[in-house]
């Protein structure tokens, strides 16, 4: 029975993942063919067409058909346009596991160190954003004035490109005497995180239907009881769905906060530095590290959701 469930769940995911990896490997050859031919030419091999300018006007597929011997070179370039999964995995291992084994897990070159910096700001921003989101939703559901005046602005706040505000938040907070980059980054991530929580909670708190609210009225339930015993429990599925989006948004916020501000530590800073120094492998490794971090965080909240829903009697 257990084996069947594992197979039923894992087999489709693994199949799709395998298909993605296969596609990725297939894409490496055409993506890297021009670079491979440039390298081959520099190494003294005969390339058709031999002129670099003519090559840049020839389609990738024609180049591959004319130089079948050089395709393999695209899978082991130092600075590829598209690295192979193995290259990315190798870079990731070199900057995490290998350094941890050498006892330098928190060295400045290790992605564990940069991930930790990013995680701190993310969790701080997530806590702040969730609090603001839930309080805002309760206010909006219960106060017409709040709903009418704040809700449109909450929506508008999300359309302000946070990238533009990021340097300003850092300038402003340093003017106000806040030390370090942790708090400004957390504010940026709270800014992205509060909105999904707010929208989800408003929807959740309003999800009880007319008849359920009427039933509580026939029980002579107070507004406080209606909130605690009907609206709040009814909003829990919506809340967890929003929290999953929220924590991911908080991580996006932290990374966006690290991108344009000249930060030197954090996963976003690794992406920026990788772009500036032309080392695509570093960008890909930092991206995958961010993906792994996001995966851990979202899985954690999904696990909490299953626990909570089971205690509330779902799925029995």
């Amino acid at each position: 029975m257990g084996v069947q469930i594992v197979l039923g769940r894992l087999l489709p995911v693994l199949t799709i993942l395998l298909a993605i990896v296969a596609l990725w490997y297939a894409a490496v050859a055409p993506m890297n063919i021009r670079q491979s031919l440039d390298m081959a030419e520099r190494a003294g091999a005969a390339v058709t067409p031999p002129d670099a300018r003519e090559r840049s006007n020839t389609s990738r597929w024609v180049l591959m058909a004319n130089n079948p011997g050089e395709i393999a070179r695209g899978y082991s370039l130092d600075r590829p346009r598209l690295p192979t999964p193995v290259q990315v995995g190798g870079e990731l291992w070199k900057t995490t596991g290998e350094m941890a084994l050498k006892g330098r897990a928190f060295s400045k070159r290790s992605l564990i160190y940069h991930g930790w910096i990013t995680l701190q700001s993310t969790l701080m921003g997530f806590a702040l954003g969730t609090l603001v989101g839930i309080l805002g939703a309760v206010g909006i559901v219960y106060s017409r004035t709040m709903e009418m005046s704040v809700m449109p602005w909450a929506i508008i706040s999300q359309t302000v490109p946070i990238v533009a505000l990021a340097p300003m938040i850092i300038i402003l907070s340093s003017q106000l005497g806040v030390e370090g980059r942790g708090l400004p980054k957390a504010i940026i991530s709270a800014y992205l995180c509060f909105f999904p929580v707010l929208v989800g909670m408003v929807k959740g708190l309003r999800s009880p239907g007319r008849e359920q609210l009427d039933l509580l009225q026939t029980y002579n339930a107070s507004g406080y009881d209606t909130f605690l015993k009907l609206r709040l429990p009814a909003s829990v599925p919506y809340l967890f769905t929003s929290l999953k989006i929220g924590i991911a948004a908080a991580l996006v916020g932290t990374i966006v906060g690290e991108l344009p501000t000249g930060a030197i530590s954090g996963l976003g800073a690794r992406i920026l530095i990788g772009d500036q120094f032309g080392t695509p492998l570093a960008i890909w490794a930092a991206l995958f590290a961010a993906a792994i971090l996001a995966g851990i965080l979202v899985t954690l909240i999904g696990w909490l959701q299953r626990k909570a829903m089971r205690r509330m009697g779902a799925g029995t």
């Binding site: 009418m148 449109p152 490109p161 991911a248 990374i255 992406i271 991206l287 995966g295």
Partner: protein, 281 residues
């Protein structure tokens, strides 16, 4: 002095809003617009007063009046940036991404195996800081708007995909059984039951995607763009300390984003009028 006046203004405005929200006209269209506008005006008044009262340097935080003056003076530049970033980058990416996600969701929904395989992966990818691929896509597709559209496509695809697939699973077994007793075929069930039932979810995805699209298009410009575009203007504006121009760009982005969001919300209201969250009382 001006600060005190601003705070008094704020208290009066909040009082007016409370009266309006309680009054019989609260569902009138004009009141629904007037209340948030008054709230926004209050914040602008507080901002203006605070900048004047504390003598804030315009390099740190310009007053709203300075930003407005700059907005009027630079309309031509702002329009050029709007066309480059919003119409070319964000909008084309949004439309392509949303259509692709919707069609993919309907296609994989027919196969239980594909749904079981793609949904966890889609959920995972939707949660990733995809905006980090911006430098990679800029180096692949060049500096012009195509690379921005590509970033937007990738950013909006997964939230809409996941929401649509979840929404398509929303119709209950009893409702589907009813459709079967009517001898409804696959497409009839899809069009008349499952897509309408999925609409609240789809619109949730579409609304999240509107803001993602703008953020994606602007962030991507930070990694390279022709000498126009909102992201380009913002990053060079911060560098050259013309912060009022940056705020003018932010105002354009905010106006655009809310207009698009409002449009999507308006369509949602028309389409999902039956959902409890849309009831007025």
């Amino acid at each position: 002095m001006s600060m005190t006046a601003a705070i008094v203004f704020w208290l009066i405005a909040w009082g007016i809003n409370m009266q309006l929200a309680r009054s019989g006209w609260r569902d009138h269209r004009l009141v629904r617009i007037f209340v948030p506008v008054l709230f926004g005006v209050t914040i602008l008044v507080l901002w203006q007063a605070a900048v004047a009262a504390f003598d804030v340097s315009p390099v740190i935080l310009p007053a709203p009046s300075d930003i407005a003056a700059r907005f009027v003076a630079e309309t031509a530049t702002l329009r050029e940036d709007f066309v480059q970033t919003v119409l070319k980058g964000a909008l084309s990416g949004y439309v392509i991404g949303a259509l692709a996600a919707f069609l993919t969701a309907i296609a994989i929904d027919r196969s239980r195996f594909l749904t079981a395989g793609l949904l966890p992966i889609g959920n995972f990818v939707a949660a990733l800081p995809i905006v980090g691929i911006a430098p990679i896509l800029v180096s692949w597709f060049g500096f012009d708007w195509q690379s921005k559209a590509a970033v937007v496509v990738v950013m909006v695809f997964f939230p809409i995909l996941v929401n649509t697939v979840q929404g398509l699973a929303e119709a209950s077994a009893m409702q589907k059984d009813l459709m079967r007793t009517y001898a409804a075929g696959y497409f009839q069930t899809l069009l008349k039951l499952r897509l309408p039932a999925a609409m609240p979810f789809i619109f949730n995805g579409l609304k999240i995607a509107t803001t993602l699209a703008l953020i994606g298009a602007i962030v991507a410009e930070y990694f390279g763009s022709p000498t126009r575009g909102m992201g380009f203007r913002i990053s060079t504006g911060v560098g050259s300390l013309s912060i009022d121009l940056v705020w003018a760009e932010i105002a354009v982005a905010a106006l655009t984003g809310s207009a698009v969001y409002g449009l999507v919300a308006l369509i949602e209201k028309r389409v999902t009028f039956w959902h409890p969250s849309q009831r007025t009382k």
